[in-house]
């Protein structure tokens, strides 16, 4: 038993080193590959987001700073199925829709919801420009077009 133990210990002195080195190098390799993959993704085509809405003011401060990516069509509301879900009491279940036509962005209120662009109440389809403010309920957002 003592001989077995001695042999095992001697083998383990090299084995443990090799295992630790193997684990470290595999993790380093995978990390490098992951970084390269993400870089390749970013270079290979446009992301699906064509713009960003960032909350800059709200009655409930928990929303401030939240950013929402804008896809081709985005339903804004308090319902779970909305693309951009804002759980503010003054935001309707389906409040507004932000959509793109070519490179132009538009917002349209849904139903009787009140939507403000640059502090002006909009009644129908209204174009959005980069840097415009957009308010739904008591949540004020700024539009960034990518």
């Amino acid at each position: 038993m003592q001989t077995l133990l001695t042999v095992l210990i001697e083998i383990s002195r090299v084995l443990f080193l090799l295992i630790a080195l193997y684990v470290l190098l595999r993790i380093l390799d995978a990390s490098a590959a992951e970084l390269a993959f993400k870089r390749a993704i970013r270079r290979s085509g446009p992301g699906r987001f064509m713009g960003v809405l960032e909350v800059i003011d709200a009655r409930h401060s928990e929303f401030i700073g939240e950013r929402y990516g804008l896809k081709w069509e985005n339903e804004i509301g308090s319902a779970r199925r909305c693309d951009i879900r804002i759980s503010d009491p003054k935001v309707q279940k389906k409040h507004a829709i932000v959509f793109f036509q070519g490179t132009q962005a538009f917002v349209a209120p849904m139903g009787k919801a009140r939507v403000y662009v640059e502090s002006r109440l909009v009644s129908g389809r209204t174009e959005l420009h980069d840097g415009d403010s957009l308010q739904v309920g008591e949540v004020l957002m700024v539009v960034t077009l990518l």
């Binding site: 038993m1 077995l4 133990l5 095992l8 210990i9 001697e10 383990s12 002195r13 090299v14 084995l15 443990f16 080193l17 295992i19 630790a20 080195l21 193997y22 684990v23 470290l24 595999r26 993790i27 380093l28 995978a30 990390s31 590959a33 992951e34 970084l35 390269a36 993959f37 993400k38 390749a40 993704i41 970013r42 290979s44 085509g45 992301g47 699906r48 987001f49 401060s61 928990e62 401030i64 700073g65 939240e66 950013r67 990516g69």
Partner: protein
């Protein structure tokens, strides 16, 4: 560009081989045969496989490399605890289980809950109450009053205060410079540092100060504030040296431990002898004398690792910590909101500083401060707080990956279709 997945099967197998071989050596070498050792082995391996399997199954977007690194470090720590004293290993295993539960809670909390920004005032209050209570009701251990007895357990509140500090600073600094918020951040950091200094917990003082400086720079990018922070830190360190005798003692012992080899310098000297005696490849598991190093199961576990596994192995362990920290920073850079980014930076900094300070202390690069080696050292509170940090990082990583996948869904689909075609071609 072909997507290369991290095939973790081989890494998991390697870690299992490491654990099985090490515990086999410990079991065969125990005289009389210690039944606790195979039990600890089964517990450790079972816990590792269960934790890794369930986390990666339920949260496919998790950061697997850092999960594997933590499991490997925890395995090394557990093997050394078993080598030193099986009782320590059993308690360590119990705390690992608690830590893993805590990790999942933190992970889910970071993903689901949005109230973390509002926790700054409660966390500031709780931190100060905990530290003040430790000062008043705490018990002294190894020269510092930083433990509170709760029933049969001793808890170190400073371990949780450092995590709360990360959240406080993130919520105060995530919206750029604001004088009232900066002053509140300064008050929190200053008050915590003062209370910890009075409790003689120098390690925690360094951790909180260092983390605050890094998070301040990450949030503002201001070299002026960075310079001011370092300047304040240097002045504070000099003042602490002048005012507190235990600081002077630590520095004197660090400068020349051989002057009082049998007294205050004994631990440092024994640790250095231990590291040197291991050489590059180590004496071999069970061939060293870790018992000759005071508090080897906690502060000085790195010396025991170097003695039995070798200096090269010790450098690889440092490499693991570095990779973990870098991955934490990458998680921060991928974050889509500044609060998550700052929390990730803060958590990565905590692990970086903690591992650097203790390893540097053991190697006599820095004065000893009595903090533990993350994931490896014996210590329930330390282990739990490290797992909570891991959970927070994993939660942010999963959030990042979910958004990434949605944002680049078309590209992912195309690349994965290409990969399937390649597999079909191979067949």
């Amino acid at each position: 560009m072909r997507k290369r997945s991290l095939h973790t099967g081989s890494i998991v197998s390697a870690i299992l081989l490491f654990e099985i071989t090490a515990f086999a050596i410990l079991a065969i070498g125990s005289s009389p045969f210690d039944l606790r050792i195979p039990a600890i082995a089964v517990g450790a391996i079972g816990m590792f496989l269960f934790q890794y399997g369930t986390i990666t199954a339920f949260f496919p977007g998790c950061d697997r490399p850092s999960l594997l690194i933590v499991n490997f470090l925890a395995a090394i720590g557990l093997i050394m605890q078993t080598r030193i004293n099986a009782e320590y290993a059993i308690r360590q295993l119990l705390w690992m289980g608690i830590g893993m539960v805590g990790m999942v809670v933190a992970l889910v909390g970071m993903r689901r809950l949005t109230f973390w920004r509002k926790t700054r005032i409660p966390f500031i209050a709780l931190s100060l109450v905990l530290l003040a209570a430790t000062l008043v009701f705490g018990s002294e251990q190894y020269g510092a009053t930083n433990w509170i007895k709760l029933g049969g357990f001793t808890v170190q509140p400073s371990e949780f205060v450092k995590i709360m500090t990360v959240f406080v600073l993130a919520s105060l600094l995530d919206r750029g410079k604001s004088v009232p918020k900066m002053l509140l951040a300064l008050f929190h950091v200053g008050a915590c540092m003062l209370l910890l200094l009075m409790a003689k917990d120098l390690g925690a003082v360094l951790l909180i100060a260092g983390t605050a400086i890094v998070m301040l720079y990450a949030a503002t990018g201001s070299k002026l504030l960075l310079g001011l922070s370092f300047g304040t830190g240097a002045v504070g360190a000099a003042a602490a040296y002048k005012l507190f005798s235990h600081v002077r003692t630590r520095v004197a012992v660090w400068r020349n431990p051989w002057a009082d080899y049998h007294g205050s310098g004994y631990q440092i000297v024994q640790g250095l002898i231990g590291i040197a005696s291991g050489g590059l490849f180590g004496l071999g598991l069970t061939r060293g004398a870790p018992g000759a190093i005071p508090v080897v199961h906690a502060d000085y576990i790195f010396a025991a690792i170097c003695q039995e596994f070798g200096l090269i192995f010790g450098l690889i362990v440092i490499g693991f910590y570095l990779v973990f920290v870098v991955r934490g920073v990458l998680i921060a850079m991928d974050s889509r909101n500044s609060f998550d980014a700052l929390v990730a930076v803060g958590c990565a900094t905590l692990i970086c500083l903690q591992s650097f300070i203790i390893i540097a202390g053991v190697c006599k690069l820095l004065p000893l401060t009595g903090i533990t080696m993350p994931f490896a050292s014996y210590g329930g509170s330390s282990l739990l707080s490290c797992y909570l940090i891991l959970g927070v990082l994993q939660g942010i990583a999963i959030k990042n990956n979910d958004i990434y996948r949605e944002e680049f869904e078309d590209v992912y689909d195309r690349l994965e279709a290409d990969e399937d075609d390649e597999w079909e071609d191979d067949e």
